[in-house]
């Protein structure tokens, strides 16, 4: 596979419990601050696992340009739109478009690729009062429908609202996709946008991923499955005992070299490529030995024409769940290098929580900033690596990056999905 001409990352947007911008999230990692706290939005006080990554101080009515829009979208959509608008502004795409005498071609060659959570349990609660009132009698249900449920209910819960309104807001009309594939949906959106640029379908894309992890009914099931931690998210630690879910959104603007060059765009990193695969190990399972994941990582290294020596670091999925961490640790360990040559490996979810669909893009943005700042944030919650992770090059502290200029980011989700992508620092003259 040819990797020329390159695809650049030219805009970033980020909204997590750790902050409302990429810079705020980065600073939080530098300060080693954990933002996982008891959930305050719902009364979960008697739940064993009641920690989460909440978006405190996020008020969509004040932070989105169109307040009227809030009547026809769901709360998670507001996260996605916030991140998308932030990335578009950060990239200065619209400023450049204003300078064009005919913006039509620009709009038609700008794609929108989204990782969407699909539907959440919370979205169906508009029907609960009607069910309670009519005691499940279908005739009464139908009779009272129009007085009890908002007429725009369906439009509010469309899983492609962020895609649609990003397009309407910015006027972008190019190819688009909306991935609803649990936690890897965001990273798949990024990978497919990359391929669409490489194939010449589009010149640039806004890639967005968002999720509302703090859906109490979903938390109930995650807890029953033993996936949640009652006391902290500790990737690869001997004390890792589950993940902590979070709300959040992330967005990235990708551009072809020609597009970036034409408007003298600032390059934050080069996206070299990536891939996703399923292990076919079940909806909630993962292969314990991590062989499939290891093969995928190896494949991405090869197809992106990188060598292990090029790797400055690896950002692991590191969700704090013992099964996932152990299989991931084995997959990384199996890359063929001894412990002394293992690239530095880290994970970021200990700070803002697991933002599910958004997590792949959140990690990619933070990896981009790590390459740019030549500093790798550590896993602040790590005290003693568990046996499966002892051959990894882990640290609790921030480390300077002294070797290599590329990074791998790993992302995993239900349906035993794995995704991996590679980014590389931009040439100094483009940064």
């Amino acid at each position: 596979m040819s990797h020329h001409p390159p695809v650049y990352i030219t805009g970033l947007g980020l909204l997590t419990a750790a902050g409302h911008s990429p810079e705020a999230n980065w600073q939080s990692l530098m300060n080693q601050t954990c933002h996982l706290k008891p959930i305050s939005e719902y009364n979960l006080s008697n739940w064993a696992c009641h920690l989460g990554g909440e978006l405190h101080d996020f008020n969509p009515a004040k932070q989105l340009p169109d307040r009227k829009l809030l009547k026809v979208i769901s709360r998670q959509d507001s996260f996605g739109l916030f991140a998308a608008y932030q990335a578009i502004e950060h990239s200065q795409l619209l400023v450049y478009r204003e300078s064009l005498s005919d913006p039509e071609e620009f709009n038609d060659t700008t794609g929108i690729y989204v990782g969407s959570p699909g539907n959440k349990y919370l979205q169906q609660y508009d029907f609960l009062p009607l069910l309670a009132k009519t005691k499940h009698d279908m005739a009464a249900f139908a009779d009272n429908l129009f007085s009890e449920v908002h007429p725009m209910w369906l439009l509010r819960i469309l899983p492609n609202n962020v895609l649609a309104y990003t397009g309407i807001h910015a006027g972008f009309k190019g190819p688009n996709h909306n991935f609803a594939n649990h936690a890897v949906g965001g990273m798949q959106a990024l990978i497919e946008a990359f391929h669409a640029i490489k194939a010449g379908q589009i010149e640039r894309a806004v890639v967005v991923a968002y999720d509302l992890g703090l859906d109490p009914q979903a938390l109930f099931y995650y807890d029953k499955l033993g996936l949640l931690s009652p006391d902290g998210l500790r990737p690869f630690d001997t004390q890792n005992n589950g993940t902590i879910l979070a709300d959040g959104a992330a967005a990235i603007v990708l551009e072809s070299q020609a597009s970036a060059k034409a408007r003298k765009a600032r390059c934050f990193a080069e996206l070299r490529g990536g891939a996703s695969q399923t292990e076919a190990s079940g909806l909630f399972g993962a292969e314990p030995e991590g062989q499939h994941l290891s093969n995928l990582i190896q494949q991405v290294i090869e197809t992106t024409q990188l060598s292990m020596q090029d790797l400055a670091f690896i950002v692991a999925h590191g969700n704090g769940n013992k099964g996932s961490d152990n299989s991931e640790a084995q997959a990384i360990s199996r890359l063929g290098l001894g412990p002394t040559k293992q690239p530095p490996t880290t994970a970021f979810k200990w700070s803002m929580g697991h933002t599910l669909v958004a997590s792949g893009l959140v990690d990619t943005i933070l990896a981009t900033l790590a390459l740019k700042n030549k500093r790798l944030p550590g896993i602040a919650s790590l005290s003693q690596p568990n046996p499966a992770a002892r051959s990894l090059n882990l640290s609790a502290d921030t480390r300077p990056l002294t070797q290599g200029d590329a990074a791998l980011i790993i992302n995993r989700g239900f349906a035993s999905m794995n995704a991996c992508l590679a980014i590389k620092a931009c040439a100094p003259e483009l940064s």
Binding site: Y42, N43, L44, N46, W47, D108, I112, S116, G118, N119, Y121, Q123, Q124, Y125, L128, L131, A132, M138, A142, L145, V149, H150, P151, M152, L154, L155, I157, L158, P159, N160, N161, A164, I168, F172, K173, P175, N176, H177, N178, A180, N181, H182, G185, E192, A199, P216, A218, F220, Y221, K224, S276, Q277, T278, E279, A280, G282, L283, F414, A415, M417
Partner: protein, 431 residues
Amino acid sequence: MMHSRRVAVTGLGIVSPLGNNVTHTWEQLIQGRSGIAPIQQFDASQFPTRIAAEVKELPLPKPANKPERFAMSFTHFALQAAKEAIQDAGIKPTSETAKRWGVVVGSGMMTAEFEYLKRFQQTAAPSGEPDWQSLASQGNTFFNLSDFGKTTSNAGLNLLIQTFGIQGMATSVHTACASGGQALGLALQVIRRGEADCMLAGGFDSMINPLGLSSFCLLGALSTCNDQPQQASRPFDGARDGFVLGEGAAFLVLEEWQHAVRRGASIYAEFAGEGNSLSAYRITDSHPSGDGAIQAIKSALRDAQLSIENIDYVNAHGTSTKMNDLSETNAIKAVFGHRALTLPVSSTKSQTGHLIAAAGALEAALSVLSLKHGLLPKTANLTMPDPECDLDYIVDGPREVPIKAVLSNSFGFGGSNSCLVFTHPKKGASA
């Protein structure tokens, strides 16, 4: 740009309101039968709309294996259609080829089954407001892993992954009524770029349940022609009053051309091109001029390296709503110019109803069958032409015409547009 890897259609599978396999569906379609009737699945007698195009005589069986624990009726449709497609293709993933197989599904809104929502309301929201303490205290009796599995965004995808042992690229997309078409378009790209040799691609959906029906009734989008269900879906007709909900699934096996030729596969058609665009106009309405759809059709023709002279038939999105029918008619006129008035166009939704996320996949399969049989399905119920919709909608019954290339259109809420081009495997359709 010449594509170095061409893509063949080598397998078809359908579960539709007209029949539970390809042969039956096609026969019923050509005989002019309607799949629309009074709703049988629940008591809809007090809803404004009481008719739909339901799948008949395909009850959800008891789970035969672990993955099927998480099947719902519409994921069961997906499984049946996918099994037929794989069997029809005469090839399936093996341990040696599993990584060269991928799957892309256009899936419906994975809202919970109504019975489950009722159970949740009784347990955790007796007053109509969720009480999380109550859910926690009754958690052990309420908890059933299958409930969570069924409502996970990629549950349908996982069912196919595990049933067939697919280990390559796998994803689930949702762009409302464009989902099935976009799933096929994405699968085409995955084979072209060399990431897979075979893809199982299609769509599945059912919104024929109390919540789905309610949501469209609230919007006033459905036909209320309850006394004459078979005449309710009237695309391009002056007396149309909305669309008719349908349900079902359709899957295609797509295969790299030389891979198919080498194994002596029977090739239905070449999947020659796809066009994908965003209208960026309004959530529910298409632009009256056809903007958005125009770009998708043009892009599909360009991708297939065909001119307007090469297209012999258009399987229209044709929903039977004023806005869609006008917009699509104008888009066809804008693209096909002088040819538009004589180009055969029909909407099979007049007999199948609107399968929402599965519509694009079903209509792609029907388009391929049109190529195979040299038969163009009619637009049923077009008896009072809308003066603004003045194309050749094939009102005179199925038309026997040798054809070389067909265009299949799908346009979704949110503005995503998908247009697919299939060509005859032997006659071709050179530009």
